[in-house]
Amino acid sequence: MAEWSGLHSSTSRHTMDKSITLPPDEIFRNLENAKRFAIDIGGSLTKLAYYSTVQHKVAKVRSFDHATKEATSDELYEISVQEEVTARLHFIKFENAYIETCLDFVRDHLVNTDTKVIKATGGGAHKFKELIERKLGLRVDKEDEMTCLIKGCNFVLRNIPHEAFVYAKHADSEFRFQTTQPDIFPYLLVNIGSGVSIVKVESEDKFERIGGSSIGGGTFWGLGALLTKTKRFDELLQLASKGQHTSVDMLVKDIYGGSYGSLGLTGDLIASSFGKSATADKGFPKEDMAKSLLHMISNDIGQLACLYAKLHNLSRVYFGGFFIRGHPVTMHTITYSINFFTKGEVQALFLRHEGYLGAIGAFLKGAEEDNPNQYSWGENYAGSSGLMSVSPDMNPMQRARSGTFDMLEMDRLERKLVNLPLLQDASSYIPDTVDLAEDALAREYWLYCFEEALDGVVKRALASQPDMPEAAERAEKFRQKYRHKLQTLRHQPFAYGSLTVRSLLDTREHCLNEFNFPDPYSKIKQRENDMALKYYQKVVKSLEELSWEERQFALIRGVLAGNVFDWGAKAVSDVLESEPEFGFEQAKRKLEERPWLVDSYDQWFERLKGPPHKCALFFVDNSGLDIILGVMPFVRELLSRGTEVVLASNSAPALNDVTNGELQILTESIAAMDPVIQAGLREDRLTLVQSGSSSPCLDLSRLDKVLAMVVRERKTDLVIIEGMGRAIHTNYYAMLSCESLKMAVIKNSWLADRLGGKLFSVVFKYEVPAAGHDSEALTPP
């Protein structure tokens, strides 16, 4: 039940901090345009939510007019940095002690709002109602706590990858994140506040409290305070984590002398909680009593949760509430209990943003007219604090440094994101190849690698905005922010879900955007695109001269050679910086000779002798030589074979990856030189779509809805994924329900080493789904 009731006593301890000054750049950002406020006031923490628009710079490309083209320059297109307004959700969590300061701050910075109402939930909403109304001049509109909680829970499960995790105290990585499920329903939410509510959620609007228990966090706190004379909840947990329950509890072995074998009850099981405290005359250490109490309550809740899960046949059980929130101790005991009672059949799941659910839900209630659920949202790593950022258990330093403010920011994405329909099993798809949280060596290497590369990125960002004098200051801020993120991840690899090369890259992109460096590689991309276009016809011509057999191989080598041009790879960017003349032919010479590290070219070649594919979906990688001299001739060949082609490129910039905007212009200009491409476009056999992503990697479970639609309509039967980010760091093990081709050049010697290859080794992976798999759905049994 309610998490808050009567917990106010804990707030007084921070009175001395009440006069803190809030740094406006870091906390309560973008208040000027804030609207739709919501607040969730719990027993000790307040969560404030608001919707705001963020004005930030985006890089746009625009084709030069043909008439004026000659006059201006040889460039194909112009790059402009424009202001764009995007929607962002801000959530800030702070201790109740700061509430007055925070409300004052909000009032002082609120400029352009026509908001009249603030949605409120949580028990403290009543207590602070008058204060909020007086300070903000907004009418407090109370929303049902459980409804908010469920709404918030649905929202995070749907929009935040790696939201849910399993906690394993003794594993290498304590947090094991779950992949987003295509269907989040049904699930059980066990909310452990002062009491326990067990809610079955069947759809967005359908949920039911199927049960509960009065033995919850309030019992631990209240009974714990009586037994140990310790007043604060987290101190009680501290005590518990140091105690030995075996002196207080009666174990099976205390009764049996050993195990109760015939029932499979081991000797160490608790037969009777506090069973020894009746017979012993001596007092017990506080720690031991707290530990016994913690076990008693956690086991009891776990048992009830299991009984309800079984009765309602549910296997996904999420735990939340103040008893759980950010406390590894209780996550561990609950996990243990669930394992015990279900013999491992059900896993206890926890949520990264559990503390924000009520605030998110209250906000969503207030924003219903904007229909926020029709959009997809993305966690902004630059603006979010990450899991356990203020947990004193996990990170005592952090608490001292950043106060007790924890933040979550979510960006509204332009389009709704969905699964690629061609995934063999969407529910078990994991984009990332290596979980760095579980692989200490890889983690160390990549964190080091990204830190090493930081200077270069800062330099590149600065160079992209030569006319802006304040760019240097922003670039420096970017450097600090990203370095801080890397440091955080070093200590808390779990801060933003699974730590992967992709998340490190995405975090960097988020930080760059945060400081208005929307496209540091725009100029490089432009130069390379212009240069590559000049060679296009020559490349095509030399390919035409080859025999069919030779051409097939040359086309693949071309794609691979093009893929060498990756500014994200240090080994390449060093070469490109020092040898401006480094070109397509040089790149070909760098390539490993066959047999490649992963080489299924022979199978691919055999396949080409067969009937053409109906439609190929090609996830492209870099600008310049890669897309123009590598990919396009290959596309041309596919079109000539009678295969339709869908080119999927990034919606927004990341490194030197070609964006959808750039690709539109490039394709048009290639079409002007090449009748095959031109016919393809005209006859709608060559389609350009945006992937919905702005990452150098690729998450096939979060793609633009239009892409999914096109893929379905065209009966796509071949998926081509190109590049290290998309085909090795991610999707290397992705199983598709149609034929697939994963092509990349390994441009990182550490990774090459690890895969048993060397720098510029080639991965060419052609896969055909196991026979019968894709026909299962089509043929009736």
Binding site: A2, D144, T219, G275, D300
Partner: protein, 382 residues
């Protein structure tokens, strides 16, 4: 595995006792907190028999039947005594005796002093203590224990006692109108055709069994929040030292000063979820507040402990009944001894939360069924 255990231990016995075992007839259940002992006192002893009866045996019989208390802590529950019972062709009275498990050494010492071992009897014992103290029985009192599974004994005992009690207060009873305190009264219940049945044994801990026949049952689950938890917490919270003391305090206290109720949070019912205002939202929830901690009495704390433990057993039981699709629940175990408060609470909880679907039943001989089952094993090996 369970079945094997029973066969292993009973095989030698069945060959020994084709004929009636020699006196004395005991059945013993050594639990985590209490030792329960049933003793069959033959009343049909012939003069001849009396002549042959060894002095030891006489002295034991006299000692047990002429006292109602033994040492400081041993007690005979006279009101439970079953008279004129026929067992194995002999007629007599069945006596029910209990003492704390921590006084077992004194009991063994007494057995040694009275040369119990010279009677060449095998003591049938169940409960965890039969395993834990087996070697003590041997070394301290030269007694060989015949160990029996406690759940087998429990079920056998329940079914037996229910079948033999015909006069006096009905063995099985329930509470009529459990949701109306003024009209709530104890009523006899006939437990014929008892299966399927949920049997909830509340000792130091709790075991919940689904019983489909005398030999077909399974342990559904259990909880460590049982009688031992009630007493243990009461001792820590109030300084009391006995179950009776704790119950006495509980009867005088008010749990609503300790617990946070739904109405304390919502001002009344929580309509959205159909929760009545009087329901407990958080056990001991008011104790989060310093002021309230300072204003409660020991009696309030004892009452809250009792209510918390009892309601929790009720919740788990109800879920098990639903999962197993069983509508009748029999509560046994010594936690319910002289504990009408808990029984009524359980009756209420079963009835209210199941909307009348579940019936809570109780048995007069609450905690003694394991010991009775052990005695039966001596007379009629399974």
């Amino acid at each position: 595995m369970k079945l094997l255990a029973v066969i292993e231990t009973s095989a030698p016995l069945s060959s020994l006792y084709h004929i009636m075992p020699s006196f004395p007839w005991f059945g013993m259940d050594i639990g985590g907190t209490l030792v329960k002992l049933v003793y069959f006192e033959p009343k049909d002893i012939t003069a001849e028999e009396e002549q042959e009866e060894v002095e030891n045996l006489k002295s034991i019989r006299r000692y047990l039947t002429s006292n109602t208390a033994y040492g400081k802590t041993g007690i005979r529950d006279v009101h439970l005594e079953l008279q004129d019972l026929t067992l194995c062709g002999r007629t007599g009275n069945l006596h029910f005796i209990r003492f704390p498990t921590h006084d077992l050494p004194a009991f063994l010492q007494m057995g040694r002093n009275k040369h119990f071992s010279s009677l060449h009897t095998t003591l049938c014992a169940t409960g965890g203590g039969a395993y834990k103290f087996e070697s003590d029985f041997r070394t301290m009192a030269d007694l060989q224990l015949h160990k029996l599974d406690e759940l087998d004994c429990l079920i056998r005992g329940v079914l037996y006692i229910d079948s033999v009690v015909s006069s006096g207060p009905s063995e099985c009873y329930y509470f009529e109108n459990p949701t109306d305190p003024d009209r709530c009264i104890q009523k006899p219940y006939t437990l014929e055709n008892p299966y399927p049945l949920l049997l909830v044994n509340i000792g130091s801990g709790v075991s919940i069994l689904a019983v489909y026949s005398e030999t077909n049952y399974k342990r559904v689950t259990g909880t460590s929040l049982g009688g031992g938890t009630f007493l243990g917490l009461c001792c820590l919270l109030t300084g009391c030292s006995t179950f009776e003391e704790a119950l006495e305090m509980a009867s005088q206290g008010e749990s609503t000063r300790v617990d946070k109720l739904v109405r304390d949070i919502y001002g009344g019912n929580y309509e959205r979820f159909g929760l009545p205002g009087w329901a407990v939202a958080s056990s001991f929830g008011n104790m989060m507040s310093k002021d309230k901690r300072e204003s409660v009495s020991k009696e309030d704390l004892a009452r809250a402990t009792l209510v918390t433990i009892t309601n929790n057993i009720g919740s788990i039981t109800r879920m098990c009944a639903l999962n197993e699709n069983i509508e009748r629940v029999v509560f046994v175990g010594n936690f319910l001894r002289v504990n009408t408060l808990s029984m009524k609470l359980l009756a209420y909880a079963m009835d209210y939360w199941s909307k009348g679907q579940l019936k809570a039943l109780f048995l007069q001989h609450e905690g003694y069924f394991g010991a009775v089952g052990a005695l039966l094993e001596l007379l009629h090996p399974a």
